[in-house]
Symmetry: C2
Subunit: 429 residues, 2 copies
Amino acid sequence: MTKLNTQPYKGARDIYPEEMRLQNYIFDTWKRVCNRYCFEQYSFPVLENFEVFSAKSGQEIVNEQLFSFEDKGGRKVALRPELTPSTVRMIAEKFNILPQPIKWFMIGDNWRYEKPQKGRGREFYQLEVNIFGIDEVTADFEILSVATDILKEFGANETMFEIRFSDRRLVNLLLNDVLKLDFETATEVRRIMDKRAKMSESDFVSILTEMGLSPEYGEAVEKFLGSSLETLPDVIDLDVLKTNKGYENIMNLSLLLGKSGLLKYCRFDPSIIRGFEYSDGLVYEIYDKNVENSRSLFGGERFDGLITIFGNYKLGATGFAMGDITLAEFLKGWKLIPNFDDALDYFVTLWPGTDSRYLEKSLEVASKLRQDGKKVFTWLQSDTKIDKQLKYADKKNAKFAIIIGDAEIKSNKMIIKDMRSGQQKELEM
Amino acid sequence: MTKLNTQPYKGARDIYPEEMRLQNYIFDTWKRVCNRYCFEQYSFPVLENFEVFSAKSGQEIVNEQLFSFEDKGGRKVALRPELTPSTVRMIAEKFNILPQPIKWFMIGDNWRYEKPQKGRGREFYQLEVNIFGIDEVTADFEILSVATDILKEFGANETMFEIRFSDRRLVNLLLNDVLKLDFETATEVRRIMDKRAKMSESDFVSILTEMGLSPEYGEAVEKFLGSSLETLPDVIDLDVLKTNKGYENIMNLSLLLGKSGLLKYCRFDPSIIRGFEYSDGLVYEIYDKNVENSRSLFGGERFDGLITIFGNYKLGATGFAMGDITLAEFLKGWKLIPNFDDALDYFVTLWPGTDSRYLEKSLEVASKLRQDGKKVFTWLQSDTKIDKQLKYADKKNAKFAIIIGDAEIKSNKMIIKDMRSGQQKELEM
């Protein structure tokens, strides 16, 4: 008979107990910080109605990366490639019942059909954190505080990461109002701007030229992307900027970040665009500052308009999604992964031999220790030399081993061996 | 524009924060007990190579219930309908590296295309618990101890659930050796035996007759299903029984269960068959004893042979899978769901008005409290009456509210309001 492949589905990960400790550490840390901010946890199925993504998730994801198919009833479904649209769907479903503001987080797996590469799989988990029902900058501020606190909780500091933020309304101001591009060209130019970092200046300018932008306009776009709060008025008149909601938002956010001591983690950067169609206010990406591996760890945005695909609701919406694979790479790069204490408390050996009392006594002792909340491993094979059992106990990082042989049964005692010091002592059973 | 449906995919569940507390409670309890037995947690992707299930998961699951499709690269894949086969795949992949015995558990979502009904969705989570590398009855015993301890940890006792166990080798003894049916007929008869409880005796007998069994043989099957340890020798000669590994296993297991005080939870019941093709030793189902809702909560088995679909390995394997939906129904039925303490520690109000110091002070206080590990909710809207904020705080079950207005800023104090008693006091900021 042909034997089946033992590999997982291509680009997805089997997580063995060793790696599971890291995943649990990441998930637990995420949860702890979100709970501290009183965000409430929720969840939804990995399988979703196709249209939820086809509407607004961005053409690359929908056309190239979606795992979609028809179910046996002919429904078009997809594995979620991100957590935001279904989150909004859940809120739309109970829009009139849920008291606002809504502060929610969840952790779930996402699927994208991509070429598997380091730090990027077809399957990845994300922490999704959002505030709904507030259209003020204070919500954006709190979201950035949560993102910062999470990274700090992992032991990271301002030398290791940087939040680069901009505002989609500022990009729209440039493309629609200053350069007066039509909607389609503006959308195309915005998508290329999002990929600017992945190409040379000359390639970038020539793509813009192909789109029909004059060299002058191409230069304005390039200058915009490279500007700071100080040099932005060289690209767009300060009077015009001052009428823009995005600009106002960035100024107010900077003020709040300054007052609360968070500005050292953050920097305005108009080259931040984001690839989702639904971003419509603040946008940001969190960068690893490791010079050998400088790249975006995760990002977020405002998406007040996304809910309108489900109904004519008004709902302030702002949040981010942090992936587990890129985060783990970041933690490894900065040596921030702790040693996990996975020691088991007691390893109860089983005296080799046919006398059934060996097993009965071992099980009895183990059961009592577990009732006291101890982590207890029991050896279950009836004919293993004690030496071999203790070797296994050592591998499993046991603190103490318990040995009950003939002499012990007779005297109603047991031997407790400290696996680190090697010392043994007798105890009443 | 047409608005999209806000319902989740049919038969799958959105989990709002209310219900998430129950899910977290269930998952945390599962984890706690498994950790106490020193089982190690692992995980694998929900999307799996199709063949992993087509081999041995049972015809109903594979032909009717599998969510399967081709990926963009032409690979045949499926959403996992159960957690056992991929677990064995993972062990086969590292067979020579993993030290045995292996005690593993995981929690994950499964997908089956079924008619959605109460207590049964197309998506459900399962706890999968297995011991690998031990072919002795002691491993079966420990697995049943874990199952019992989990239900006890939820507050259940012997009046609420019962473990009914049998052994596939006993079924094979009847069908192959006593009735001497050929392989295919025996398999068909076994499948019908698994469905016996869902049909009348006359329907059952007439189906057996259609399969070519004489009335005498049909009666033997029916008698077998209804027998106890005492009456089993009326169907199969005791001398024959005594040569059967399954019978030996059941006698030894009963002995161990008796010695350890677990027999009050357990009963031999040869009508337990299980629907998987891979069951090849002990089989069991855990039944709700609620007379109004008596049904199987979950089950498990030995499956020593399953690994051979991946390679010529020898691996003792025994374990169970417990589903979250049926468990939640069980807990509800017996009123075992506790009140979840989801109180937030501090609700920091935001004094309405334009003075930016209100916000700054609130954020400062909230940040300090969070640094002390407190759960702190901050109100972020700039123009909400304090009364309305406190109403929301009450809804969110806040223990204390903090109020900082003009007078407080001047005196560098803050008001702390006990939300239960209503009492207020001033504190230095």
